[in-house]
């Protein structure tokens, strides 16, 4: 069948490009990570960063590094960089999945009211719990943020179930639940007895990676890896859903089940990440769009590639956020938007083809 061979060749050409894009992204994330950990206050330089990482990865080489350098790079900057990579990847993959399933370009991974719910949970812990971040209170904030995110998802799910799980109901219920939680969040901030706590809440809401440790990386990364892998497994279903629910049904895809599965996966990934980092916006909205413009809409490639774009974007943004106002830091959300928006607009204006109907 020469026709089939020809078709395979044509299709293979596009596929090669996508695989190449994935490969290049992995390389650039890795190099960005090494550069990132070598930048900042204190003495370490690029060479030191390479040495520290090499000495930890290959202890048998016997590379000698100073203890201070080692502490700064290995215990402070590297977990933070890795957290940026994992958080960016998880948020962006969730965003790509939800945009695909709900077939809506304005959807981000916070569509189910997760950000407001997590904020409310965190504020509850900060203001009425132990009162300060740190020690017992720190874990309370994380647990609260996570639990309230899951609660928001459950609420949206139950409301949507009553109305037969259409995508419109999920989106509207998500928006409504989000408003409910942000009203309650405002109420807490308004009633909070100490202004210090209010400041802490505002700081949490802006999000940041400064509290990342190896411990938090160990908790977040397995959850994000597993959920993102399961999202990628839904790619075929999401592709078919883009032709409409009737067509999906005629091809044996149960759209309600796909929606329920992806909602749970997306909530687990997003809630875990923002419980540790606070609300980091924008990455989850914009990375899928950037990726779609570069490699197209096949979710088998779109979801993993989005994850890598998100990782890259958040890592670069966090590095810039650490550096511009030294020794102080900018909230990473500000930098993400300031770096991401011009890049996004550039692709939007220069692209040849409509990436959304």
């Amino acid at each position: 069948m020469s026709k089939a061979v020809e078709l395979k060749r044509l299709y293979g050409k596009g596929k090669k490009r996508k695989v190449l894009a994935l490969f290049l992204l992995v390389i650039s994330i890795f190099s960005a990570m090494v550069v990132s950990v070598s930048l900042g206050a204190g003495s370490p330089r690029f060479g030191d960063a390479v040495k520290v990482i090499a000495s930890k990865l290959f202890p048998f080489l016997g590379i000698e590094v100073g203890t201070i350098t080692q502490t700064i790079i290995w215990n402070l900057r590297l977990p933070r960089a890795i957290m940026a990579i994992i958080a960016g990847a998880g948020l962006a993959a969730s965003g790509a999945t939800m945009q695909g399933v709900l077939r809506n370009p304005l959807v981000s991974s916070y569509i189910l009211g997760i950000s407001a719910a997590a904020g409310f949970g965190a504020a509850l812990a900060i203001v009425f719990g132990a009162g300060v971040i740190g020690g017992y209170g720190h874990y309370l904030v994380i647990a609260n943020a996570f639990l309230f995110s899951v609660l928001a998802m459950v609420m949206v799910y139950c409301i949507a179930r009553i109305r037969a799980m259409t995508i419109e109901t999920v989106i509207l219920a998500g928006v409504a639940v989000g408003y409910l939680f942000s009203a309650m969040l405002s109420l807490i901030q308004y009633l909070a007895p100490q202004s210090e706590a209010v400041r802490a809440v505002v700081f949490w809401l802006m999000g940041g990676l400064d509290s990342a440790t190896w411990q938090s990386v160990q908790v977040v990364s397995p959850i994000v890896l597993v959920t993102v892998a399961l999202m990628v497994f839904q790619s075929w279903n999401i592709n078919v859903l883009s032709m409409g629910e009737d067509v999906a049904a005629s091809l044996g895809v149960n759209s309600k089940r796909v929606l329920a599965i992806t909602m749970v996966l997306e909530t687990l990934a997003t809630a875990t990440i923002i419980a540790f980092t606070g609300v980091i916006g924008f990455v989850c909205l914009i990375s899928p769009h950037i990726t779609r413009m570069i490699i197209g809409s096949d979710h088998r490639f779109l979801i993993p590639c989005s994850a890598l774009v998100g990782a890259c974007l958040l890592l670069c943004s966090d590095t810039v956020a650490r550096l511009v106002l030294q020794p102080a830091e900018l909230p990473v959300g500000i930098v993400t938007s300031m770096l991401g928006v011009p890049f996004f607009l550039y692709i939007l204006v220069s692209r040849r083809r409509q990436s959304w109907r």
């Binding site: 069948m1 026709k3 089939a4 061979v5 020809e6 078709l7 395979k8 044509l10 299709y11 596009g14 695909g100 077939r103 075929w236 592709n239 078919v240 883009s242 032709m243 409409g244 009737d246 067509v247 049904a249 005629s250 091809l251 044996g252 895809v253 149960n254 779609r292 197209g296 809409s297 096949d298 088998r300 083809r353 409509q354 990436s355 959304w356 109907r357």
Partner: protein
């Protein structure tokens, strides 16, 4: 493999509003059956029930005597292909990607040689092999319809359902699509069931016609049996003149509503 589709006392309600009532008919393999009826008579609903997009009561739709409820999610798409009324893709997929979706019931993750083969074969059969890598949303209506038919065909179905496949096409594409259906039925013994609005196309291409009125079967039979002046009047509420076309099938010429038969004849002496 020859399959027989039986519709047995099928009734369907949308939120307690009855759409279909006691619909009964049979389709043999390789047969082309057109479903006719005015807007809202239940044509699309009937197709969607046959396809299990809408759930029906037990044993209402049978394939070779087996209730469609007993087929798994992956089995049914290998038997029944579906071409909806309108198709748009939310995302910019290529023609190849869109056609490939029809392989969903067969594919787990990556593609086999068979997947490439059947997609290539089908694109060639429909004469659209040239634009495998073009974007679906950038094609004309007629080309899009062929792509959607290709998607249904790569499912390797024995029964093909089409919901008004010609309604937005120009006359050349209308004929092309219906000729393809005839080839399919004759060469591959695929049963074709389509909802149509154009009585004359139905007359020309169908082996049998099912006429629906308010969710009930009003008439079923060959075009000659079904397309009579009386039936057209009763179902569509229009007066029509039925003649034999050059192809030997009934030709329906609808008359303007305000004119009675005599007026029409006076205005158009040639039909006398």
């Amino acid at each position: 493999m020859a399959l027989r589709l039986t519709i047995n006392k099928l009734s369907f309600n949308y939120a307690s509003v009855p759409i279909l009532r006691d619909v009964e008919f049979c389709v043999e393999s390789g047969e082309i059956v057109s479903i006719l009826g005015p807007n809202g008579s239940g044509k699309s609903t009937l197709l969607r029930c046959i396809n299990r997009i809408l759930k029906t009561q037990q044993n209402a739709v049978l394939i070779d005597g087996k209730d469609i409820g007993s087929f798994s999610l992956k089995e049914l798409p290998k038997i029944i292909g579906y071409v909806p009324q309108t198709s748009t893709s939310t995302f910019p997929f290529t023609v190849f990607d869109v056609v490939l979706m029809g392989r969903k019931p067969y594919v787990h993750w990556s593609l086999s040689e068979r997947d490439y083969e059947i997609v290539a074969e089908t694109l060639e059969f429909l004469g659209i092999q040239g634009f495998a890598m073009r974007h679906f949303n950038e094609l004309s209506g007629g080309e899009q319809q062929k792509v959607i038919i290709a998607r249904a065909l790569v499912q390797e179905p024995q029964i093909l359902l089409l919901d008004e496949p010609t309604s937005s096409l120009d006359i050349k594409h209308q004929l092309e699509i219906l000729c393809i259906m005839r080839d399919l039925a004759q060469a591959r013994h695929c049963s074709v069931i389509m909802a149509l609005h154009d009585l004359n196309l139905a007359s020309r291409f169908s082996d049998r016609i099912l006429m629906l009125k308010k969710g009930c079967v009003f008439a079923v039979g060959t075009p000659e049996e079904v397309l009579t002046k009386e039936n057209v009047k009763a179902v569509y509420d229009i007066n029509a003149y039925i003649t034999n076309s050059v192809l030997g099938r009934p030709q329906v010429t609808p008359l303007p509503p305000e004119m009675n038969h005599g007026g029409m004849l006076r205005a158009h002496p040639e039909v006398a």
